[in-house]
């Protein structure tokens, strides 16, 4: 890059020698909380209650999500469900949670359909870089894992769910290994464990900075070899019920424009997160489909949400070059030694603190005019990546972070030689649909797993706990479905009809419909063909 940043880069280089052996600036919990309240986007009051549904007047939602919960369905008013596909289980979502569930439903004689808005594997899972947590060291335990995640989540985690997550971690790593996932190992053959923000001991397993890709491509390969019937480019636009329980879904076949009615004895929502709602104008690290569809669908079926106000802004989103804005720079790069610096080349916070605190600190630094302004009018702070080779020897960054190197290479930026600019990017939906220990939602017939659910991570998730979440709870929901598969019931739109009645009584934003399906910025066309059911 970066003649425009020369002055600031000179300062970064000048302070590097001294910073190498300097401790991180201290921040106690009281001041960390002050920082969060003043600068973290969750605390800026950009939220409101909604007037209809199970959480009416009870809790606050980000404005963008509240609008989607209070608006009409995309289904044409005259649409009547008439069954096109009959299945035992319908999985909605083709990311890590959906794929894990499909594999856990294999071999027990059930018909399983997996419908996904994009293609199998196009998901936030595949984009996860840093790793997956499992307590494998002698000085570690599932309890210590629990304690770290509970403190990181501000004590808002559901302890039952969190205990299940931590207790099942090593078994899950073994399962992934049996499927053929290859995680980085030390020379002695043990797994290489990295620290993550807020882990009290190194606990994060990784496959370079492509951990999610490794897990997703293996899961996808296994699903393609299973009996699961995959329906790619089939987006869920509404859930069906018999007036009481969830009994199926209406899918939109994107290529033919048709609406398809599926009757299912059990439906598993694994539709993922909502970063593409781009709350408060933030860029996002999420994939094209992350528009919170599952939240809307479940809410209309009477399912309550937990901590829907809480989002994770990943501290290190790319700010420059413009083409990479919002894209993730893995947290492991900080655990490998890269420091976060302001325009003066000074550290202002410990890089391995919790994600929400670090994000707030970066926003604060920029607000106080100590950030760096790019030629495209964005602001950020430095991530001093050259420190990695200085600390671990030449070539270390290229070996450990091939993904980062690959993305920047095109712009003639070598992160081993020059720092990169970062700013928080909308990364993860901390809250979501309420589930019990077996992934059951508030409504019978409907299970949920993965990012679409809430409670597990409290109001701030630790690195490496989302890949674990989808593999543990995706499979767990599947086992619960196997154990208590409901009988087949009628498919009607009773709940939607009631919702539409309630909606008439309030004024809502009539120009939008939900689920949103695609990001607003993508200007995609959503047309249902008129002659359905053909």
């Amino acid at each position: 890059m970066t003649a425009w940043a020369r002055d600031s880069l000179d300062k970064v280089e000048a302070s590097r020698e001294e910073r190498l052996h300097q401790g991180a600036p201290e921040l106690d919990e009281i001041n960390a909380n002050k920082l969060l309240r003043k600068f973290h986007p969750d605390y800026q009051g950009m939220e409101r209650t909604v007037r209809i549904g199970p959480d009416a007047s009870r809790r606050k939602f980000p404005n963008e999500l509240a609008d989607l919960l209070e608006t009409d369905s995309r289904l044409p008013p005259d649409f009547e469900p008439s069954v096109d596909i009959e299945t035992d289980v319908l999985i909605l979502g083709g990311g890590g949670a959906g794929a894990s569930a499909a594999l856990a439903l294999e071999g027990v004689g059930l018909t399983v359909y997996l419908a996904t808005k994009l293609r199998l594997g196009d998901s936030n899972t595949v984009m996860a870089e840093g790793g997956i947590q499992a307590s494998l060291r002698p000085d570690d335990s599932p309890r210590r894992h629990f304690a770290d995640a509970y403190v990181g989540g501000h004590g808002n985690n559901n302890p039952d769910l969190l205990r299940i997550l931590c207790d099942n971690a090593s078994e899950t790593i073994r399962w992934l290994g049996q499927l053929g996932c290859i995680m980085d190992r030390n020379d002695d053959g043990t797994f290489r464990l990295r620290a993550g923000g807020g882990t009290s001991v190194p606990r994060v397993l990784a496959c370079r900075d492509y951990t999610g890709l490794e897990i997703m491509r293996v899961l996808k390969d296994a699903v393609l070899l299973s009996k699961t019937q995959v329906l790619p480019e089939h987006a869920a636009v509404e859930l069906l019920d018999d007036g009481k329980d969830v009994t199926g879904a209406v899918l939109w076949d994107r290529n033919r424009g048709r609406l398809i009615t599926v009757s299912a004895r059990a439906v598993l929502l694994a539709t993922g997160g909502s970063g593409q709602l781009r709350l408060q104008g933030f860029p996002t690290s999420n994939h094209l489909g992350a528009t919170g569809d599952g939240l809307v669908l479940a809410y209309r079926q009477g399912c309550g949400l937990v901590h829907p106000e809480s989002y994770q802004y990943h501290p290190s989103g790319t700010v420059y070059p413009e083409a990479l804005v919002g894209q993730l720079v893995t947290e492991s790069i900080r655990s490998a030694g890269a420091q976060v610096l302001n325009a003066e080349g000074e550290r202002f916070i410990g890089e391995m603190t919790f994600r929400d605190v670090l994000a707030a600190a970066i926003i604060s630094e920029v607000a106080e005019k100590r950030g760096v302004l790019t030629p495209t009018h964005r602001t950020g702070v430095w991530l001093d990546t050259p420190l990695i080779d200085i600390k671990s020897g030449a070539g270390a960054l290229h070996r450990q972070f091939p993904g980062l190197v690959h993305r920047f290479k095109r712009y003639k930026i070598d992160p081993a030689k020059q720092p990169i600019l970062i700013y928080p990017t909308l990364h993860y939906q901390n809250g979501g649909i309420r589930i019990d220990r077996d992934g059951r939602t508030d409504t019978k017939g409907l299970w949920a797993a993965g990012e679409v659910t809430g409670g597990l991570h409290g109001t701030n998730r630790l690195m490496g706990n989302s890949l674990l979440d989808i593999t543990v709870f995706g499979r767990r929901a599947a086992l619960s479905i196997r154990k208590e598969l409901p009988s087949r019931k009628a498919v009607t739109l009773s709940r939607l009809k009631k919702f539409r009645e309630e909606l008439k009584a309030i004024s809502s934003r009539r120009e939008i419909m939900s689920p949103q399906l695609f990001p607003t910025v993508a200007n995609m066309k959503i047309n249902f063909s008129m002659n359905n059911n053909q």
Partner: protein, 220 residues
């Protein structure tokens, strides 16, 4: 804002300097013309071919990572997944050959390597598969996003990325699971620790969690 004109499948599109082909399509209301997934270079959905107006070599790319340039022509080139072959424990070149009989049809033309948007040395790796250097093959394909371009351009129907996955999964599944807790576990202590961490109200739990994470045990 400076703009350039590019062509997508023959249709002119105005784009802002610095943005990618995908973002240009979004602004132009033509998002549907190229299949899109992660918008981050790892899902392999948005495969394209690119031609430049000058004498530079064009070729394959990912639309989400490809910055626009004046006069550039883009053609969608989407590749469907194919059903893979079940991996096997303790893989050998013979087992791989049985799984993928087209392995030996490679004519060393190098198209696959040229087509790979992740700069994987695909052809060299196919040759390594033939000679049995499977550990190196697993390493070669560590950045593979399974976009399918190497398979798409192969005239001899070799399926490099599927074979790469077969090798990786076969090796991965054959590795010894390491890092399990060994020795006897004191279950009474484990239960005491769980009670300590999960009892009481959220404030008490938080306090206990803070203390516990310091040393990984109940502090007196």
């Amino acid at each position: 804002m400076k703009t350039v004109e590019i062509k997508i499948a023959g249709k002119p599109v105005r784009a802002r300097v610095g943005e990618t082909v995908i973002h240009a399509l979004w602004s132009a209301g033509q998002a549907e013309s190229i299949k899109t997934g992660c918008v981050g270079g790892v899902c392999g959905a948005c495969t394209i071919t690119v031609r430049f107006p000058d004498d530079r070599l064009g070729g394959t790319d990912l639309a989400c990572l490809c910055p626009v340039e004046e006069g550039m022509e883009v053609f969608p080139c989407s590749v469907d997944a194919v059903t893979p072959v079940i991996p096997q424990l303790d893989p050998t070149p013979e087992k791989l050959r049985t799984a993928y009989p087209t392995l030996d049809r490679c004519t060393k033309c190098g198209s696959c390597t040229t087509a790979c948007p992740m700069t994987i040395p695909v052809m060299d790796s196919v040759l390594r598969m033939r000679s049995g250097q499977l550990e190196t093959v697993a390493e070669d394909f560590i950045t593979c996003i399974h976009c399918g371009l190497c398979r798409f351009v192969c005239e001899d129907r070799v399926q490099p990325h599927n074979m790469g996955m077969w090798v990786r999964r076969s090796i991965g599944a054959s590795q010894k699971p390491i890092g399990e807790q060994t020795g006897s576990i004191n279950w009474e202590q484990v239960e005491r620790e769980w009670v300590y961490l999960t009892e009481g109200n959220s404030e008490q739990r938080l306090d206990h969690a803070r203390r516990f994470r310091e040393r990984g045990r109940i502090e007196k």
